[in-house]
């Protein structure tokens, strides 16, 4: 009876969580959806507390207070530019918690003093799978976090990285089988350690612009690990919620990969984009770069009717979003139409640019997806590129011969004038020259994103 009642409350919680996610399909309903999801979580946790827990209350209260304080602190203090790091960290914590829960389920089987019957086969399998995914997610996310926080600055690619990963994956599988057949503490620890190493080795070779994919994959894993724990504990709400998170990560991964025209396998196995590059930047740029000043840009903007701004990771790095908002207000004050062109992989996580611009008080209906904005560039007087490179590189249109071949890009070069605000001519993540910078109607403004935009704003005000 208790069990049926418990499951009814878990069902209510699951429905609330699904409705909550559904709210996220539109900016208007999103906040309410999030609140509904939180309510679902509350119902689930309360149900577990009342009906199922055997844990010591002191531990529960202390754990919730400590975790709740850390969570609140992080959520309220984090800078919006650091959201990718925070999501990476949360992915890791979710994986870590699932790893522990699945390991707890293995305890009776490996504890010789504890006279328990062996685990049922499906439970043992689920538990072992959950341990592996949890450990990979925990350590993989930690590495992703360190990279995004720029504590870990180097992208390390070991010789034979794929062979090493393959051997480790094989060792993990052997360990999993051994643990199911002959459970012992040594094998359990070995499996956790090996999976953690695999997590490190999978993420460590992956660099900057591929980060959105890595974060999406680890997001998915953190859900699947919880799902595995749900199989172990025979718990519906864990399986349903875990699958929702898993599905979300998978869908985002697919969107990101498509936006880079790269296969999931290439990103995940750290296959670099197209191998060795011949540096052709001298040929492409030689004598064709036109550098400009803030005053000249202000003059060009004065006579424009429609301006499109294409931001990239550089905008996040220089925290230029508030300056960009001021620029938008100034232009709109002069009756100029302003829109934003957002490439799906601009920044370091899915939707990164949107959050920064929303933070700066720019209405979300001005933020246009690539497919919506591209047809309008031909009617655009000025396109301003801020801290973006590969996502506006016309080389991608050629079907082959470059690492970004076939990647969909923002067609900024179709605008009458293109202004690129960039610190130097250095290449983007793909490591190739950008012919856009050398076209006749492109003007380069060499400056830090924030400083550059502020100077344009000053010039506009003086004009």
């Amino acid at each position: 009876m208790t069990s049926s009642l418990t499951n009814i409350f878990y069902l209510i919680a699951s429905v609330l969580l699904i409705w909550g996610l559904k709210g996220l399909t539109h900016p208007r309903t999103a906040q309410r959806g999030n609140a509904m999801g939180a309510m679902g979580m509350f119902v689930a946790v309360l149900t577990a507390l009342v009906t199922e827990t055997d844990l010591h209350w002191g531990y529960i209260i202390a754990g919730v207070i400590i975790g709740g304080s850390i969570g609140t602190y992080l959520a309220l203090k984090i800078e919006m530019t650091a959201m990718p790091q925070l999501v990476a960290l949360f992915n890791g914590l979710g994986g870590g918690a699932s790893l522990i829960v699945a390991a707890i389920a293995m305890l009776p089987a490996i504890d010789a003093d504890f006279s328990a019957p062996g685990l049922l086969l499906p439970v043992a399998v689920a538990s072992v799978v959950s341990i592996v995914i949890g450990a990979v997610t925990l350590l993989g996310s930690l590495i992703a976090f360190l990279k995004l926080q720029r504590i870990l600055r180097k992208t390390v690619v070991l010789p034979g990285q794929q062979v090493i990963n393959g051997v480790m994956a094989a060792a993990v599988i052997v360990c999993m089988i051994t643990l199911i057949v002959h459970p012992s503490p040594e094998i359990l620890w070995g499996l956790i350690a090996l999976s953690a190493l695999l997590g490190v080795s999978l993420v460590i070779p992956i660099g900057g612009a591929d980060m959105p994919v890595v974060i999406a994959v680890l997001n998915s894993y953190s859900g699947l690990a919880a799902c595995g724990a749900g199989f172990v504990l025979n718990n519906n709400v864990l399986i349903i919620s875990g699958s929702l998170v898993g599905a979300s990560g998978m869908v985002l991964t697919r969107i990101m990969c498509r936006a880079m025209n790269r296969s999931f396998r290439n990103v995940i196995f750290g296959i670099s984009m197209g191998g060795k590059q011949v540096d052709q930047s001298d040929d492409i740029y030689q004598g064709k770069i036109k550098s400009t000043s803030a005053d000249e840009i202000a003059m060009i903007l004065e006579s424009a009717r429609r301006v499109v701004i294409a931001p990239g990771y550089g905008m996040a790095v220089s925290q230029a979003q508030h300056a960009v908002r001021e620029l938008t207000n100034l232009l709109e004050g002069k009756g100029i139409e302003v829109e934003f062109a957002i490439h799906p992989v601009a920044g370091r996580m899915p939707g990164h640019m949107n959050v920064l611009l929303a933070e700066a008080d720019i209405s979300y209906d001005k933020l246009k997806d690539m497919d919506d904005i591209n047809p309008t560039f031909a009617q655009t007087d000025v396109a301003i590129v801020i801290g973006a490179n590969d996502v506006v590189n016309p080389t991608a249109r050629k079907p082959s011969g470059s690492p970004i071949a076939g990647m969909p890009i923002l067609d900024v070069d179709q605008a009458a004038t293109v202004i690129v605000i960039k610190r130097s001519l250095s290449p983007g993540f793909a490591g190739i020259a950008n012919p856009l910078f050398a076209t006749d109607h492109t003007l380069m403004y060499f400056a830090d994103g924030k400083k550059g935009v502020n100077e344009i704003n000053t010039a506009l005000k003086e004009a």
Partner: protein, 92 residues
């Protein structure tokens, strides 16, 4: 519960998830990720209910750790998502 029953729930939930997430606009992808971070904190329920296994001291210590990690996700995830979504308003 029967393993096949659990598998059924898993597959159906995965499909529902895919259906819904495909409809989330790119502009909300970051709050989607932080929101799903919060949902992955559902493992808190797992941490609370796993105590029936094994040696009590060990279980309590491990359970305590898992509760901390999961609560960071639940509380942090929902709060930061709310903070982001507050910024996504239409302005005139």
């Amino acid at each position: 519960m029967d393993i096949i029953m659990l598998l059924t729930i898993f597959v159906l939930a995965l499909m529902v998830g895919m259906e819904i997430i495909t409809k989330v606009p790119p502009t909300l992808h970051t709050p989607l990720m932080s929101g799903t971070n919060a949902i992955s904190g559902i493992i808190l329920v797992g941490a609370l209910t796993s105590a029936k296994f094994g040696n009590p001291v060990m279980t309590n210590i491990l359970g305590f750790t898992a509760i901390i990690l999961a609560t960071v996700n639940v509380v942090g995830g929902f709060l930061v998502t709310d903070r982001i979504l507050k910024m996504f308003r239409k302005r005139d």
